[in-house]
Symmetry: D2
Subunit: 406 residues, 4 copies
């Protein structure tokens, strides 16, 4: 066990990280700095201060990172229409790089030589935290208590609290969810419990952010979102900050039963796991972003983006946000977005998002050429013959020499 | 104008291709063979016989290709989770290679030296027909009347009918749709009319196969589909042929308002165009296929498939089904599907498809390892440390040498 | 035939383009502006002035574009280690976008509404010229005489000269090469003649820039090149401009028999063609660039570049330099090159280039970690176990469930 | 430390693995089975029997795997024109999967529950051995002594021999190379020693298989190789088995100074390392294979292969031969090779391989179309105009709407 002087702990104020705070003091005999961030998880962060103080913590950091989260992480990711394994909007993955960045900043400010987190040894989050930490502060010591201790059940944790006089108030844990959950402005996730059987349907009362489609309003809701350089800057004509945009879309989307997802995904550590996700705002954003791109992006740029996206999604899912290959792709993605400006009109109804209109000063949609009516010579249909003939040439030669495609 | 002896015409029995049949006789002074296929467009094909006879056609081919269409074209495409530009399920694109193959077979049987089609000079279909024709019969002459003649409006076509005594009954055309439509077992498409304004919402009465989500039943419909080697072979335990599977899913999906899509897409000939599509069965199949793959496919195989998919979709969209590069990808895709067996349970409700369960004898989901509970040593959490440390090594070295990722 | 007022002609001063200059005047009854560029083809460009004047041309542009060529086209391309079809260094392809750009600038300056070039209708160059022209000046009229006229042999061209009093001096054409050649600072190419038989070896006296390896010096030549941001800025410690770097490397490489290539390539227009190329400096640059990247680039960045390269090469070969997808890739490539600084030592000997040393202030090579000797704990070998175990997990699970890889 | 009953050791008969054999017996108190393979490393394998016997080994396996190695591993890899990081022909990487497969077969035959190897904890080989072992026998225990013991120098190993009475004759080690070497039929590699300084040139007397280009013959050697389905089956008209082909090419190539390589590469475990490689036969094969593909492969198939190759190379380098994603790519690669038949003529001279001719009954090279002379209408140059116009359409529209590419 390496000597540790001071450790920055990603601290939620909950049971697990409260135990960790004490366990770190006891086990490493080091100072603990707590860091609690508001990234839109929907719980007050200020109460974490008193809890940390009660644990004897002297350096306590509490930050509101919501705007930074959406502006510098969520929005850049959505510029790429990022989806992991065809379904997942990466709500958990994208929050980790920000937490890590801030943790390392605090480590540098406070002279800490270590960081600690409450992620388990089976999941992706440990990887995301630690890859980022090593990339930003290569000499840092990383402590992952779940991989070290034997407090591997809620009962043992409670016992530890008692035996170590951890005075945290867990009244909020009374109606403890049977699921392992994680939330931020982009999504809330559910794992564990009955979800460990992939044939079992999730219970309706599991979902927290969205009404069930059945409970959603019987009339559609229309909204109009405005993009600048690939990011939404206004809803229904109202300019908004990034975090406000996402919060608003979550609210509208949730009210219409939008954004529920139930999948089995492949973790970076090698196993499959079942997860349920609620991403109301993100689901709307993805659909709207594709729609505004559909009229403003060049075809080959759009296709190049599509072909790069799976790898970009993998980078984020696997924890390589703070890696040079992610940055290299990001500049290409961002380069493509200068022209992604305009409005998209959407219809939200009982779980479904439909695009019903898109317009842009930067549109490449050309009515004169696209029309089924007379185009007054804008497009010469005769050109198509040569286009096809030469595109077919290699196949004509091959077939002429006897190669069969059947 | 090249000399043509005999031409096989893809003949629908409608106004356009009836005019073409006569125009070919008049213009090229050649024999015309008509070929009409049932690919699930939902109209009787047998009436085309009498219409062709009335036009003086002697060799008339009418084929039911529905099973071949789904088995050899739709299913192979869905094995790749194919989507064009993030949205489009390629309903029109995938029908063309089959039509072309059959047209060329008939040309070979009847000794024809040319083929003709009714696709316009602005669209993708001309490319798909002709690339296939050249690939399968390199010396064939292709005639595309819409690129040659000047009958570029419905009025001129009607006038041509009259002046050339074309006795076709167009009563069915009285309530002519303002949209250009194309249908087969996989989808129905709409273009033109008010859709040429991408800001205008499609009218509700345009849609033909699906009820509007608002009109759909107020209670969800659950179905269970069974996969073998990546293809659906049974619904709710009932074994079915490929075409029956798709027809059944269209019916269930359509009744629940599923599968409507409104997009602007990039055509291969270089322009953007607005299209609306109804693909009820395909929408369900895609979702279900991803779900069964999620528990049966290896992670890296799944990711490799995802990274190849955009190119595969482009090949099909652009008309390169009968090309060796498509075949090369297909063998890789098919190789991956041997293990894609099992059941998926789906919930259909007012336009949305949700996966609620998946199970398989070939599952790679391992409850013992994935569990949040005690796994009895199935997974050693300590391994994660080395995994992360070595994955971070290149970044630690770089950061240690002063490279900053911020 | 469209009405043309004034046309800018890419004019070499040779037979073909002299005939074109006159033919344009006669056929289109338009003014002709000639444009002759020095891109390092190794012939004087100034004599083109008198020849153009003799043809009655009033607006004559003669430019030395060598520095711009290497700085803005060759160097950016080499940053990606670009090779087409595993072999070809794209010497012809990369010169076309520059010619086109300048032609369009001149068209804009002189008020011309058309451009013309001397490329044939079978090759790639017509595509490269014209795609660029349309991208930079969408309304431009492009005239490609070789696709229009019937002067399809040298004899007919000579006859045209005589009958049209074209007073150009073709004495330099007396010892006319049997090959079709194209040269610029990056390479010289040979096509046609006996090369049309892909089984026939090129004759030794065809090659112009390099001595045969057999004739090269019997002792190796060592050179040292210095990179800044991916570009060579000095040779043997001597700072040089881009064009000087390439000229110098051509001279040293040619003297050592380096850079000959004999391939069959796939043209964009659909046919295969045999070409021989001499690219002495480029061959050295590619090898050196990979070497400097090998110690300065992050592994994943290098691999990402490698995976993008074939598509980037295709874009350049096919003529899409002035396309947004090329620009999108370029910003990613350029982003990766900030750290590509340092020196490479090379050994040139009878046709072969060997890297024998590389060093950099930005090196990521870490002797302490890489060493076979005791590394004093810089690397913990125990980490490898967890690394391997988790990377193997998905395969262990699959094998445990009975999947066989044999 | 897990209980081990019987372990199969990859045994070379050299110092390291002899110490391992004894150390395993002492440390794990288990039976040791030795396995020694001839994969063309150029040393007798039979002497390993007596050495193993002297160590008290009772089950001794000695196999000649040369034909299997080339037929089932080297040739399939070369069908993809596989190169890692633009330079490395993967000589070490491709031997590991075969060794592993045979080790696991022997484990199954002898009822062993573990395997052991002599690869270090810093290199790629440990990964390749172990990933394969886990994929083929998921419950196997892997022992990697170099990651466990502290015998981390030659001196300590010698001391161990003495103190443990290891009676192996190391006379052959007297003139011990300062380099860490690995050899098989495909290549010999060198690492360590002065190579750890990437600026230092390798000493001439390091190289073992090839003469220096300076010492090579002063006249070129011409050879002709014949391909069937992408593999070489004859040299100069003489049919040969796979291993004989490679041995013969090594001999001819080595005599002409061909196949030396000096690079810095990125290891999978995260560090950069300097390696020198001699791959005479492989260098010739790669060049010849590209040449025969150049006339027999469809363009898009060739480009698809090129775009997949970097990932395929990564899989092999990183040790994922026995992984489903490698197999998935392999079927696609193999599918492309049915037509890769014919002859290639090569000129070997002082380190350089030049292709001077290629011919095939499956050629797609069409002289009639490719010719610069009159092609009698085989190709219609007018088609090029439409081809270019439509390929330019998206860029013309964009430019027409004011987008600038400059």
């Amino acid at each position: 066990m390496a000597a540790v002087k001071k450790v920055v702990l990603a601290y939620s104020g909950g049971l697990d990280t409260s135990v960790i705070a004490r366990w770190l003091q006891d086990t490493y005999e080091c100072e603990v700095v707590t860091f609690t961030a508001d990234i839109g998880q929907g719980e007050e962060v200020e109460p974490a201060r008193a809890k940390a103080q009660a644990l004897g913590i002297k350096e306590i950091y509490i930050d509101d990172l919501r705007e930074e989260f959406v502006r510098d992480f969520v929005f850049p990711m959505f510029r790429a229409n990022t989806i992991y394994e065809g379904e997942y909007l990466l709500g958990t993955s994208i929050a980790r790089p920000l937490i890590t960045k801030r943790m390392i900043e605090i480590a540098n400010q406070t002279g800490a030589d270590a960081v600690a987190h409450g992620a388990t040894g089976k999941g992706n989050d440990q990887v995301r935290f630690e890859l980022g930490a090593y990339a930003l502060k290569p000499g840092v010591k990383v402590i992952a208590p779940w991989r070290e201790w034997d407090l591997n059940s809620r009962e043992k944790l409670m016992a530890y609290c008692e035996s170590h006089n951890i005075p945290v108030d867990f009244s909020s844990n009374k109606k403890k969810s049977p699921y392992s959950m994680d939330a931020n402005l982009l999504h809330i996730s559910y794992e564990g419990g009955i979800l460990e059987d992939p044939w079992a349907e999730a219970e309706e009362d599991m979902w927290r952010w969205s009404v069930s489609p059945q409970q959603a309003p019987d009339t559609p809701t229309y909204i109009e979102v405005t993009f600048e350089k690939g990011d939404i800057v206004a809803i229904d004509g109202q300019p908004m900050s990034p975090a406000t945009v996402l919060a608003k879309l979550n609210q509208i989307g949730g009210a219409n039963g939008i954004g529920r997802l139930d999948i089995v995904e492949n973790r970076y550590v090698g196993m499959k796991s079942r997860g349920c996700y609620e991403t109301p705002g993100g689901t709307i954003m993805l659909k709207a972003h594709r729609a505004i791109e559909s009229i403003t992006l060049d075809r080959e740029v759009a296709h190049l983006k599509d072909s790069l996206m799976p790898r970009y999604a993998e980078m984020i899912y696997n924890g390589y946000w703070w890696a040079p290959e992610r940055k290299m792709l990001q500049v290409a993605i961002d380069e493509s977005q200068h022209v992604v400006n305009g409005d998209v009109r959407l219809k939200l109804y009982k779980g479904a998002v439909e695009v019903v209109g898109r317009r842009s000063a930067d549109t490449l949609f050309d009515e004169k050429i696209a029309t089924f009516e007379d185009d007054a010579g804008a497009y010469n249909q005769k050109d198509a013959e040569g286009f096809i003939k030469l595109n077919a040439l290699r196949m004509r030669i091959a077939a002429g020499k006897g190669r069969s495609m059947l």
